[in-house]
Symmetry: C2
Subunit: 202 residues, 2 copies
Amino acid sequence: MKREGILFVISAPSGAGKTTLCKEVIDIFPNLRHSVSYTTRSARPGEVHGRDYFFVSLDEFKGMVAADEFAEWAEVHGNFYGTALKTLEDYRAQGIDVILDIDCQGAHQLKKKYQGAVYLFVLPPSYQELRRRLDCRSLDAPEVIDRRIEAAAGEIRESRWYDYIIVNDVFSKAVEELKSVLIAEQCKTTRVLAGVSELFDI
Amino acid sequence: MKREGILFVISAPSGAGKTTLCKEVIDIFPNLRHSVSYTTRSARPGEVHGRDYFFVSLDEFKGMVAADEFAEWAEVHGNFYGTALKTLEDYRAQGIDVILDIDCQGAHQLKKKYQGAVYLFVLPPSYQELRRRLDCRSLDAPEVIDRRIEAAAGEIRESRWYDYIIVNDVFSKAVEELKSVLIAEQCKTTRVLAGVSELFDI
């Protein structure tokens, strides 16, 4: 019996490094895909439609919400983000593991529907370091950075209900930890037994 | 706050390779120790008292049982094996992680006392391969091997209640999986929060 795909949900305050971490592990695991979210925000330089996000208009997004096409959606810093239900269900049925890089509100919605999913939170080593990273990134105006730092405190408190916390201090160590969680979850008894129970009459 | 040491309990039928696997990871993690068990069986060539086991007489063993000095003990294939309570408690208080290489009966006893411990089961890829490995090891007489194979079926059925199952087919992959479980468990939210909750006011 082929096991179902595992859903890994990963959240973090902006600037903690979750997107870079996710990209790193996608290249390592052939059976792992990144779930591409829909968003109403503008593409940043280098971002590609269909690879990083599906960039849609506010009207298109609202249409999908009305048609109940999202497994989760949320408004974050004035923009909308959502994960299509179909994406998750297709991967799961094919036994492909999926990594979802979404904010806490979205993760919270998923937690109610997907009990079997694995929830990870990425923490920066400190608030000072988070601000330094957001400043260096030079993606946002100073007032946007202030808003992100303010939001971070609330988001970080949400980490309590996640299954795992990865502190992204030394990047290579954080990658190693994320990789380990992905491998360890594949070794969970219920998942392994789905594949070997007949062989051993368990 | 320093976190408590984690107790990793690992079981397998004889010949599945758990002792070799444990030795491999002990060398990698500086904060991980092997818990040395007491046994009444004779030392095999190369085994060292105090490193591999504490080799004791049946009378000494029974004395320790009577004095309630064991966290778990069991009779396996005609010999007695036990883990001293003091060993586990000392490591735990010092924040040192411990790996315990014990049989299913002993693991079952621990499960009642140590809910927070992590239970791993090592499976051979098949019964045929298990017999081949026991034959190659040339440690046991043919009738002992027959007894071990017979016992294996019962032990393997116990794997159901363990947290993780590692199938030891390709050794390097099994090492990677065991390493991953050890790292992932250190990233479990409750354990990480013990260290960072003050920093982030979580």
